[in-house]
Protein backbone atom coordinates (compact mmCIF):
# COMPACT_ATOMS: atom_id res chain seq x y z
CA UNK A 1 0.00 0.00 0.00
CA UNK A 2 2.77 2.39 0.95
CA UNK A 3 4.58 1.47 -2.25
CA UNK A 4 1.41 2.12 -4.25
CA UNK A 5 0.77 5.54 -2.72
CA UNK A 6 4.39 6.41 -3.27
CA UNK A 7 4.03 5.67 -6.99
CA UNK A 8 0.76 7.49 -7.09
CA UNK A 9 2.29 10.59 -5.61
CA UNK A 10 5.08 10.59 -8.13
CA UNK A 11 2.89 10.25 -11.16
CA UNK A 12 -0.37 12.10 -10.98
CA UNK A 13 -0.55 13.21 -14.62
CA UNK A 14 -1.56 9.76 -15.97
CA UNK A 15 -4.45 9.74 -13.46
CA UNK A 16 -5.55 13.19 -14.65
CA UNK A 17 -5.42 12.04 -18.23
CA UNK A 18 -7.42 8.89 -17.55
CA UNK A 19 -10.09 10.67 -15.50
CA UNK A 20 -10.49 13.29 -18.21
CA UNK A 21 -10.81 10.73 -20.97
CA UNK A 22 -13.56 8.83 -19.13
CA UNK A 23 -15.40 12.00 -18.06
CA UNK A 24 -15.30 13.71 -21.45
CA UNK A 25 -16.40 10.58 -23.33
CA UNK A 26 -19.44 10.57 -21.06
CA UNK A 27 -20.14 14.31 -21.27
CA UNK A 28 -19.77 14.48 -25.04
CA UNK A 29 -22.22 11.57 -25.43
CA UNK A 30 -24.72 13.29 -23.15
CA UNK A 31 -24.64 16.62 -24.96
CA UNK A 32 -24.89 14.94 -28.36
CA UNK A 33 -27.63 12.67 -27.04
CA UNK A 34 -29.91 15.50 -25.86
CA UNK A 35 -29.64 17.42 -29.12
CA UNK A 36 -30.09 14.38 -31.32
CA UNK A 37 -33.26 13.13 -29.61
CA UNK A 38 -34.89 16.55 -29.78
CA UNK A 39 -34.05 16.92 -33.44
CA UNK A 40 -35.17 13.39 -34.36
CA UNK A 41 -38.43 13.79 -32.45
CA UNK A 42 -39.26 17.01 -34.29
CA UNK A 43 -38.44 15.66 -37.74
CA UNK A 44 -40.15 12.30 -37.25
CA UNK A 45 -43.26 14.08 -35.99
CA UNK A 46 -43.32 16.34 -39.02
CA UNK A 47 -43.15 13.39 -41.41
CA UNK A 48 -45.84 11.31 -39.65
CA UNK A 49 -48.12 14.34 -39.25
CA UNK A 50 -48.17 14.77 -43.00
CA UNK A 51 -50.06 11.52 -43.33
CA UNK A 52 -51.71 10.78 -40.00
CA UNK A 53 -53.38 13.04 -37.46
CA UNK A 54 -51.66 12.50 -34.16
CA UNK A 55 -51.37 13.78 -30.66
CA UNK A 56 -47.92 15.27 -30.07
CA UNK A 57 -47.90 14.13 -26.45
CA UNK A 58 -48.36 10.51 -27.52
CA UNK A 59 -44.99 10.34 -29.22
CA UNK A 60 -41.85 9.27 -27.44
CA UNK A 61 -38.40 9.10 -28.94
CA UNK A 62 -35.45 7.68 -27.06
CA UNK A 63 -32.00 6.36 -27.78
CA UNK A 64 -29.90 3.90 -25.88
CA UNK A 65 -26.19 3.83 -26.23
CA UNK A 66 -24.67 0.40 -25.87
CA UNK A 67 -21.04 -0.57 -26.11
CA UNK A 68 -21.36 -2.02 -29.61
CA UNK A 69 -24.86 -1.08 -30.74
CA UNK A 70 -27.01 1.96 -30.10
CA UNK A 71 -30.76 1.81 -30.55
CA UNK A 72 -33.32 4.43 -31.49
CA UNK A 73 -36.80 3.80 -30.16
CA UNK A 74 -39.79 5.64 -31.60
CA UNK A 75 -43.15 5.03 -30.01
CA UNK A 76 -46.14 6.68 -31.66
CA UNK A 77 -49.68 6.20 -30.50
CA UNK A 78 -52.20 6.71 -33.29
CA UNK A 79 -55.78 7.21 -32.12
CA UNK A 80 -58.33 4.77 -33.62
CA UNK A 81 -60.40 7.73 -34.84
CA UNK A 82 -57.50 9.34 -36.67
CA UNK A 83 -58.13 10.11 -40.28
CA UNK A 84 -55.45 8.70 -42.49
CA UNK A 85 -54.66 10.86 -45.45
CA UNK A 86 -53.62 9.25 -48.67
CA UNK A 87 -50.01 9.88 -49.51
Amino acid sequence: MSLFSFLNRRNTAPMARERLQVLLAHERAQVGHADLVGLLREEILAVIARHVQLDEDKVTVSTQRGENVSTLEVDIEIPATASVRAA
Partner: protein, 271 residues
Amino acid sequence: MAKVIVVTSGKGGVGKTTSTAALGAALAQRGEKTVVVDFDVGLRNLDLVMGAERRVVYDLINVVQGDAKLTQALIRDKRLDTLHLLPASQTRDKDNLTAEGVEKVIDELRQSFDWIICDSPAGIERGATLAMRHADAAVVVTNPEVSSVRDSDRIIGLLDAKTKKAENGERMEKHLLLTRYDPARAERGDMLKVDDVLEILSIPLLGIIPESMDVLRASNLGAPVTINDAGCAPSLAYRDAARRLAGEQVPMTIPGERRGFINKLFGRRAA
Protein backbone atom coordinates in the same frame (compact mmCIF):
# COMPACT_ATOMS: atom_id res chain seq x y z
CA MET B 1 -8.87 40.60 -45.63
CA ALA B 2 -9.84 41.06 -42.01
CA LYS B 3 -9.86 38.05 -39.72
CA VAL B 4 -11.88 37.87 -36.51
CA ILE B 5 -10.36 35.71 -33.76
CA VAL B 6 -12.04 34.86 -30.46
CA VAL B 7 -9.80 34.04 -27.51
CA THR B 8 -11.86 31.80 -25.27
CA SER B 9 -11.52 29.06 -22.63
CA GLY B 10 -14.62 28.46 -20.54
CA LYS B 11 -12.62 28.50 -17.32
CA GLY B 12 -11.47 31.79 -15.84
CA GLY B 13 -7.91 32.67 -14.94
CA VAL B 14 -6.20 30.54 -17.56
CA GLY B 15 -4.76 33.51 -19.49
CA LYS B 16 -7.34 34.70 -22.02
CA THR B 17 -6.69 38.40 -21.44
CA THR B 18 -2.92 37.99 -21.22
CA SER B 19 -2.95 35.95 -24.43
CA THR B 20 -5.25 38.42 -26.22
CA ALA B 21 -2.86 41.27 -25.40
CA ALA B 22 0.28 39.27 -26.24
CA LEU B 23 -1.03 37.85 -29.53
CA GLY B 24 -2.56 41.20 -30.52
CA ALA B 25 0.73 43.00 -29.92
CA ALA B 26 2.70 40.28 -31.73
CA LEU B 27 0.44 40.59 -34.79
CA ALA B 28 0.68 44.39 -34.65
CA GLN B 29 4.50 44.11 -34.47
CA ARG B 30 4.30 42.37 -37.85
CA GLY B 31 2.92 45.65 -39.17
CA GLU B 32 -0.64 44.37 -39.47
CA LYS B 33 -3.42 46.61 -38.18
CA THR B 34 -4.79 44.94 -35.09
CA VAL B 35 -7.57 45.71 -32.63
CA VAL B 36 -8.12 43.85 -29.37
CA VAL B 37 -11.74 43.93 -28.20
CA ASP B 38 -12.75 43.34 -24.57
CA PHE B 39 -16.07 41.46 -24.33
CA ASP B 40 -15.95 41.06 -20.56
CA VAL B 41 -18.64 43.62 -19.76
CA GLY B 42 -18.68 44.55 -16.07
CA LEU B 43 -15.31 42.93 -15.37
CA ARG B 44 -13.09 44.49 -17.99
CA ASN B 45 -9.37 43.96 -17.60
CA LEU B 46 -7.86 44.09 -21.05
CA ASP B 47 -7.43 47.87 -20.63
CA LEU B 48 -5.36 47.26 -17.48
CA VAL B 49 -3.15 44.57 -19.04
CA MET B 50 -2.61 46.88 -22.04
CA GLY B 51 -1.78 49.82 -19.76
CA ALA B 52 -4.62 51.95 -21.14
CA GLU B 53 -6.91 51.98 -18.10
CA ARG B 54 -6.70 55.76 -17.69
CA ARG B 55 -7.42 56.48 -21.34
CA VAL B 56 -10.85 54.82 -21.53
CA VAL B 57 -13.55 57.34 -22.43
CA TYR B 58 -16.10 55.39 -24.45
CA ASP B 59 -16.56 51.63 -24.59
CA LEU B 60 -18.05 48.80 -26.62
CA ILE B 61 -21.56 49.31 -25.22
CA ASN B 62 -21.47 53.05 -25.98
CA VAL B 63 -20.72 52.14 -29.58
CA VAL B 64 -23.35 49.36 -29.72
CA GLN B 65 -25.97 51.76 -28.36
CA GLY B 66 -24.93 54.56 -30.70
CA ASP B 67 -23.80 56.94 -27.92
CA ALA B 68 -20.32 57.11 -29.40
CA LYS B 69 -18.69 56.54 -32.75
CA LEU B 70 -16.32 53.62 -33.11
CA THR B 71 -13.40 55.98 -33.76
CA GLN B 72 -14.13 57.75 -30.45
CA ALA B 73 -14.00 54.52 -28.47
CA LEU B 74 -10.89 53.05 -30.07
CA ILE B 75 -7.67 53.64 -28.11
CA ARG B 76 -4.44 53.62 -30.07
CA ASP B 77 -1.51 51.99 -28.28
CA LYS B 78 1.24 54.44 -27.30
CA ARG B 79 4.02 51.99 -28.12
CA LEU B 80 2.70 50.46 -31.33
CA ASP B 81 0.91 52.49 -34.00
CA THR B 82 -0.74 49.40 -35.48
CA LEU B 83 -2.29 48.25 -32.18
CA HIS B 84 -5.70 49.41 -30.94
CA LEU B 85 -7.99 48.61 -28.03
CA LEU B 86 -11.78 48.64 -27.87
CA PRO B 87 -12.53 48.50 -24.14
CA ALA B 88 -15.53 46.89 -22.44
CA SER B 89 -17.87 48.79 -20.18
CA GLN B 90 -17.14 48.71 -16.47
CA THR B 91 -20.49 49.62 -15.02
CA ARG B 92 -23.26 48.98 -17.49
CA ASP B 93 -25.51 45.99 -17.67
CA LYS B 94 -24.20 43.25 -19.95
CA ASP B 95 -27.74 42.81 -21.32
CA ASN B 96 -27.07 45.99 -23.31
CA LEU B 97 -24.87 43.92 -25.57
CA THR B 98 -27.07 42.63 -28.38
CA ALA B 99 -26.19 40.15 -31.14
CA GLU B 100 -27.16 42.70 -33.82
CA GLY B 101 -25.20 45.50 -32.15
CA VAL B 102 -22.09 43.36 -31.85
CA GLU B 103 -22.38 42.27 -35.48
CA LYS B 104 -22.53 45.90 -36.59
CA VAL B 105 -19.42 46.82 -34.61
CA ILE B 106 -17.49 43.79 -35.87
CA ASP B 107 -18.47 44.56 -39.47
CA GLU B 108 -17.27 48.13 -39.03
CA LEU B 109 -13.98 46.95 -37.51
CA ARG B 110 -13.50 44.59 -40.47
CA GLN B 111 -13.36 47.65 -42.75
CA SER B 112 -10.25 49.11 -41.13
CA PHE B 113 -8.33 46.28 -39.42
CA ASP B 114 -6.44 43.16 -40.50
CA TRP B 115 -6.96 41.40 -37.17
CA ILE B 116 -9.84 41.69 -34.71
CA ILE B 117 -9.00 39.77 -31.54
CA CYS B 118 -11.98 39.31 -29.20
CA ASP B 119 -11.22 38.64 -25.53
CA SER B 120 -14.09 36.45 -24.30
CA PRO B 121 -15.38 36.50 -20.72
CA ALA B 122 -15.13 33.23 -18.78
CA GLY B 123 -18.13 30.92 -18.63
CA ILE B 124 -20.54 29.70 -21.27
CA GLU B 125 -23.18 32.39 -20.82
CA ARG B 126 -24.30 35.10 -23.19
CA GLY B 127 -21.14 37.22 -23.03
CA ALA B 128 -19.01 34.26 -24.08
CA THR B 129 -21.36 33.19 -26.89
CA LEU B 130 -21.56 36.78 -28.18
CA ALA B 131 -17.76 37.05 -28.24
CA MET B 132 -17.44 33.87 -30.33
CA ARG B 133 -20.51 34.44 -32.51
CA HIS B 134 -18.89 36.34 -35.40
CA ALA B 135 -15.43 34.78 -35.22
CA ASP B 136 -13.64 33.30 -38.22
CA ALA B 137 -11.33 31.31 -35.96
CA ALA B 138 -10.96 30.53 -32.27
CA VAL B 139 -7.97 30.34 -29.96
CA VAL B 140 -8.86 28.00 -27.09
CA VAL B 141 -6.65 28.86 -24.11
CA THR B 142 -6.05 25.85 -21.87
CA ASN B 143 -3.90 25.11 -18.82
CA PRO B 144 -2.50 21.58 -18.43
CA GLU B 145 -4.93 20.92 -15.60
CA VAL B 146 -8.13 18.85 -15.40
CA SER B 147 -10.77 21.56 -14.87
CA SER B 148 -9.35 23.76 -17.61
CA VAL B 149 -9.25 20.88 -20.11
CA ARG B 150 -12.81 19.89 -19.28
CA ASP B 151 -14.09 23.46 -19.74
CA SER B 152 -12.17 23.81 -23.01
CA ASP B 153 -13.95 20.71 -24.26
CA ARG B 154 -17.31 22.36 -23.53
CA ILE B 155 -16.22 25.54 -25.30
CA ILE B 156 -15.11 23.55 -28.36
CA GLY B 157 -18.62 22.07 -28.44
CA LEU B 158 -20.13 25.57 -28.31
CA LEU B 159 -17.82 26.82 -31.06
CA ASP B 160 -19.15 24.03 -33.27
CA ALA B 161 -22.78 24.81 -32.45
CA LYS B 162 -23.43 28.41 -31.42
CA THR B 163 -21.36 30.44 -33.87
CA LYS B 164 -22.46 32.02 -37.10
CA LYS B 165 -20.00 29.85 -39.00
CA ALA B 166 -21.40 26.67 -37.44
CA GLU B 167 -24.97 27.74 -38.17
CA ASN B 168 -24.05 28.30 -41.82
CA GLY B 169 -22.71 24.75 -41.93
CA GLU B 170 -19.10 25.92 -42.17
CA ARG B 171 -16.23 24.50 -40.15
CA MET B 172 -15.00 26.69 -37.31
CA GLU B 173 -11.21 26.88 -37.29
CA LYS B 174 -9.99 26.10 -33.75
CA HIS B 175 -6.49 26.37 -32.28
CA LEU B 176 -5.20 25.20 -28.92
CA LEU B 177 -2.99 27.57 -26.96
CA LEU B 178 -1.50 25.74 -23.99
CA THR B 179 -0.53 28.28 -21.33
CA ARG B 180 1.29 28.09 -17.99
CA TYR B 181 3.08 24.98 -19.14
CA ASP B 182 5.91 23.75 -16.96
CA PRO B 183 8.09 21.30 -18.94
CA ALA B 184 9.95 20.09 -15.85
CA ARG B 185 6.75 19.20 -13.99
CA ALA B 186 5.31 17.52 -17.07
CA GLU B 187 8.50 15.51 -17.47
CA ARG B 188 8.25 14.38 -13.83
CA GLY B 189 4.70 13.21 -14.43
CA ASP B 190 3.10 15.83 -12.21
CA MET B 191 1.47 17.78 -15.02
CA LEU B 192 -0.47 16.77 -18.13
CA LYS B 193 1.86 16.71 -21.11
CA VAL B 194 1.28 18.57 -24.36
CA ASP B 195 0.42 15.31 -26.10
CA ASP B 196 -2.10 14.36 -23.39
CA VAL B 197 -4.03 17.61 -23.81
CA LEU B 198 -3.82 17.42 -27.60
CA GLU B 199 -5.10 13.86 -27.63
CA ILE B 200 -8.02 14.69 -25.34
CA LEU B 201 -9.14 17.89 -27.07
CA SER B 202 -8.04 16.90 -30.59
CA ILE B 203 -7.69 20.37 -32.08
CA PRO B 204 -4.45 21.60 -33.69
CA LEU B 205 -1.80 23.19 -31.48
CA LEU B 206 -1.13 26.91 -31.93
CA GLY B 207 1.55 27.28 -29.28
CA ILE B 208 2.91 26.35 -25.88
CA ILE B 209 3.43 29.24 -23.48
CA PRO B 210 5.75 28.36 -20.60
CA GLU B 211 4.86 29.29 -17.03
CA SER B 212 7.00 32.35 -16.39
CA MET B 213 7.51 35.32 -14.09
CA ASP B 214 7.84 37.48 -17.19
CA VAL B 215 4.08 37.28 -17.82
CA LEU B 216 3.21 38.68 -14.38
CA ARG B 217 5.96 41.29 -14.65
CA ALA B 218 4.50 42.56 -17.92
CA SER B 219 0.96 42.80 -16.58
CA ASN B 220 2.24 44.57 -13.45
CA LEU B 221 3.62 47.23 -15.77
CA GLY B 222 0.61 47.32 -18.07
CA ALA B 223 2.27 46.04 -21.22
CA PRO B 224 1.63 42.96 -23.35
CA VAL B 225 4.49 40.57 -22.59
CA THR B 226 5.48 40.59 -26.27
CA ILE B 227 6.12 44.34 -26.04
CA ASN B 228 7.53 44.47 -22.51
CA ASP B 229 10.34 41.97 -23.06
CA ALA B 230 10.49 40.79 -26.64
CA GLY B 231 13.28 38.31 -25.91
CA CYS B 232 11.84 36.35 -22.96
CA ALA B 233 10.57 32.79 -23.34
CA PRO B 234 6.80 33.51 -23.23
CA SER B 235 7.26 36.36 -25.76
CA LEU B 236 9.04 34.08 -28.19
CA ALA B 237 6.29 31.50 -27.77
CA TYR B 238 3.53 34.07 -28.32
CA ARG B 239 5.35 35.50 -31.35
CA ASP B 240 5.59 32.01 -32.88
CA ALA B 241 1.90 31.42 -32.12
CA ALA B 242 1.01 34.70 -33.86
CA ARG B 243 2.99 33.64 -36.92
CA ARG B 244 1.16 30.31 -37.04
CA LEU B 245 -2.14 32.16 -36.69
CA ALA B 246 -1.12 34.20 -39.74
CA GLY B 247 -0.61 30.94 -41.64
CA GLU B 248 3.17 30.57 -41.43
CA GLN B 249 4.75 27.19 -40.83
CA VAL B 250 6.78 27.46 -37.64
CA PRO B 251 8.28 24.40 -35.93
CA MET B 252 6.79 23.81 -32.49
CA THR B 253 9.16 24.20 -29.56
CA ILE B 254 8.83 24.63 -25.83
CA PRO B 255 11.21 27.40 -24.74
CA GLY B 256 13.50 26.16 -21.99
CA GLU B 257 12.74 22.54 -22.77
CA ARG B 258 15.37 19.81 -22.86
CA ARG B 259 16.75 19.08 -26.29
CA GLY B 260 15.47 15.49 -26.54
CA PHE B 261 11.93 16.59 -25.96
CA ILE B 262 12.22 19.40 -28.47
CA ASN B 263 13.28 16.89 -31.08
CA LYS B 264 10.22 14.83 -30.28
CA LEU B 265 8.02 17.86 -30.85
CA PHE B 266 10.00 19.12 -33.80
CA GLY B 267 8.13 18.67 -37.01
CA ARG B 268 4.70 18.49 -35.40
CA ARG B 269 2.38 20.23 -37.81
CA ALA B 270 1.04 23.43 -36.40
CA ALA B 271 -2.50 24.65 -36.78
